[in-house]
């Protein structure tokens, strides 16, 4: 069972208390973008076997959105962090590097 710690209220919530919100740090493309950018934004998704960044919502708790970094292969959680950021903070990246040296995700390393 997947357990994530909500970075806002500090509760360790298991998955029935949470709502999965899909890939993290999507850059939104709208009017003025190319067809390709719009297509990728709408339909293309990172689907890695390993390190992944996602949005989650503490739905049956404080209700806040947050981010999580975890491994899709082992369900290991590397950390959770605020929703108010465009990319994972350095301490989360360091936590991943400690356990998965050489990891990549989109253009992050």
């Amino acid at each position: 069972m997947l357990i994530l710690e909500c970075p806002y209220c500090g509760v360790k919530a298991e998955e029935t208390e949470l709502h999965a919100g899909g890939e993290a740090h999507l850059k939104r493309f709208g009017p003025g973008s190319t067809d390709g950018e719009f297509h990728d934004y709408l339909f293309m998704r990172e689907n890695p076997k390993g390190v992944h960044f996602e949005r989650w919502r503490h739905a049956n708790g404080c209700g806040k959105w947050f981010h999580a970094a975890r491994c899709t292969m082992t369900l290991e959680v590397f950390g959770t962090y605020s929703a108010q950021t465009f990319e994972p903070p350095q301490e989360i990246r360091d936590a991943i590097t400690a356990k998965r040296p050489g990891w990549t995700w989109r253009d992050l390393k």
Partner: protein, 414 residues
């Protein structure tokens, strides 16, 4: 290949079963093949089979990282039906269903196809409207289905409880020619026929890289060394994004776990397949007597072939309401498979940005039923560059906004 028949059984009985041969060879890979198929699940094996049978292409290797049929093909609940909503879906699923009817004879291998009938329960007003719409669409597509009353449902499935407190049964979509087949046998039957045509099935061999030269595929790098090919077919279900990444392109797809379980074996009590999509539960009885039960998918990407525990509870809760007798059954086994889900819940059978490389994936929670039709179409696409059955399932449909929206018909179940 020695054919299986009643005479073979008698002959072997008289000589203590010493004459049976292995159903397929396990050769070492050659340096080069005309076609490499990655993934020895049902779709990969069927693709290879029809490449040989319909197009005479037999210098083919099927490369499998585990054992053949060990992916979703060996993990599914084997429901076969073709009552989809959109025309392109109806065409390929109905092609598949009709090929299932003669598959045992065609392969000389008993796949135990059992057209026992599939009932999809309508338990909300919304579902009634949805299934009536599907029944009308099916009538136009030439697929035989019927919307039936609750009384008829009770006649077909006497163990059902029509008046559940949360979700009473308000009617059902009934496809009498749908049913089940033995999942392993489908993989094994195709494997035996492929091996007999001279194709190499290479198990315990993982593809770890795709070599692309001047925009076209040159071969694959595997745990058994590099192997060259003229054409490549990627048929790896939940692992499709990983393989596409190796070839340098992306897929509009995400992978999640879907699970199923079986009960202890009991006397025959239900001779059709029943699906309850609103409550995420479906059930049939195997020939061994086990109740085969499928449930919901996990809400987040994962590759753990296990599935979240609370889905078991949800599924069992729903089934208890609809089939009260199930509440006394013990469950024997539970397992999961990694299913490949696209935005419109329809598969991708397509050319790719890499030359001579083709992909067949996105069957998600419901691709066992389509194995023969998909293999037939994918073989045609790979051999000739074009297939009427796959045209609408191209990767480009998202760019063009030509979705094949089956989320009503296939989003939650099988």
């Amino acid at each position: 290949m020695k054919r299986y028949s009643v005479f073979a059984v008698a002959r072997e009985a008289l000589r203590y079963h010493t004459g049976w041969e292995r159903a397929w060879r396990s050769p070492e890979p050659k340096r080069h093949y005309d076609v490499i198929i990655v993934g020895a699940g049902g779709h990969g094996l069927a693709t290879a089979y029809y490449l040989g049978k319909n197009f005479g292409i037999t210098n083919v290797a099927i490369i499998e990282k585990g054992w053949l049929g060990g992916g979703n093909t060996g993990r599914n609940t084997t429901i076969i039906r073709s009552n989809y909503l959109q025309d392109p879906s109806a065409a390929i699923y109905e092609k598949a269903r009709s090929l299932y009817e003669t598959m045992s004879q065609d392969l000389n291998y008993n796949v135990m196809f059992s057209p026992r009938g599939v009932l999809m329960l309508a338990q909300t007003q919304h579902e009634i409207r949805g299934y009536k719409r599907t029944a009308h669409a099916n009538a136009l597509q030439g697929v035989e289905t019927e919307f039936v009353s609750p009384e008829r449902v009770k006649e077909i499935v006497p163990i059902i409880n029509l008046h559940g407190p949360r979700y009473p049964v308000l009617g059902a979509l009934w496809q009498e020619r749908g049913g089940t087949a033995r999942h392993d046998a489908v993989a094994w039957g195709y494997a035996r026929a492929c091996s007999d045509m001279g194709m190499d099935i290479i198990q315990q061999c993982e593809v770890q890289g795709v070599r692309v030269v001047n925009g076209r595929v040159a071969g694959v790098d595997t745990t058994k060394g590099p192997i060259d090919c003229d054409k490549l077919g990627m048929v790896v279900a939940g692992n499709a994004s990983v393989l596409a990444d190796q070839a340098g392109f992306r897929l509009p797809m995400e992978s999640v776990a879907l699970q199923a379980m079986v009960s202890e074996p009991i006397k025959p009590c239900m001779d059709v397949v029943v699906m309850a999509n609103t409550v995420h539960g479906y059930m049939s009885q195997s020939d061994k007597g086990e109740m085969v039960i499928g449930g919901g998918t996990d809400g987040f990407n994962n590759y753990t072939q296990r599935g979240s525990f609370h889905h078991i509870e949800e599924t069992v809760r729903a089934l208890n309401e609809t089939f009260p007798m199930v509440s006394r059954l013990k469950m024997l086994r539970q397992w999961g498979g990694i299913v490949d889900v696209t935005g419109d819940r329809s598969p991708i059978i397509s050319k790719t940005p890499v030359g001579n490389t083709f992909v067949n994936c996105g069957w998600g929670t419901g691709g066992f039923k389509s194995i023969p039709g998909s293999g037939w179409a994918m073989a045609e696409l790979m051999a000739t560059g074009h297939s009427p059955l796959t045209e609408e399932f191209s990767i480009n449909r998202f760019q063009e906004g030509k979705f094949i929206d089956e989320s009503v018909a296939a989003g939650v179940a099988h």
